[in-house]
Symmetry: C2
Subunit: 122 residues, 2 copies
């Protein structure tokens, strides 16, 4: 291939992918959910975490609720009312989940990079 210049029409392909943990109700942990957990840890509040991700509170709350429903020990504990109106904090299980997912995520990206090089189409 390759004329003197100009993009070949089949240039620039790259391997992409997603991984997630699935539970009884469907997705349990994925990239977005883990980032959300981290923001909750950082801000101590679902609403602040959501805002920082440009995500609606409604959506964030549903994700948290979905995760908590699928485990015996919740990943996030919430409190309504009280000082500051309430808040949310990450549990031990939440911390473990974050760690476990990033480990998986790194392994997966490694796989993607390695595999990407060995692909030939035309």
């Amino acid at each position: 291939m390759s004329g003197k210049r100009g993009k070949s029409k089949s240039e620039g392909f790259r391997l992409k992918g997603r991984v997630w943990i699935e539970g009884r109700e469907g997705t349990f942990l994925g990239y977005g959910r883990v980032v959300l957990l981290e923001r909750i840890k950082q801000f101590g509040s679902i609403s602040e975490a959501a805002k920082s991700m440009n995500m609606s509170y409604r959506h964030a709350w549903e994700l948290v609720d979905s995760m908590n429903r699928q485990v015996k020990n919740p990943l996030v504990e919430t409190a309504t009312g009280g000082k500051g109106g309430g808040g949310a904090r990450l549990t031990e299980a939440g911390e473990k989940a974050i760690e476990a997912f990033w480990k998986l995520y790194r392994d997966f990206n490694e796989f993607l990079e390695k595999t990407d090089k060995s692909i030939k189409f035309t």
Copy 2:
């Protein structure tokens, strides 16, 4: 874990994922597209291929068109009119694409299975 019986609330997690090839316009090849290519090869027609997958002809045609737009040598050649009204056939490049994807797909599933076992949450 495990009480005498009954499902633990954190049972049954499994790793899932998707991989695809991305080109200039977004997705170029993924699982569904490859199955579609195989059906086109089998039936010699986009409409029959679509029907066999419970997919609308419109959608199938758009997928084929999207794939063809992103390469110099089309994966599918179509003919309008003529014997039987026309049809579609897989090109050499189409065959290669199928092969390449399944190879990738197998490697990915291997990764998933291997990785799934090494994950601990709680």
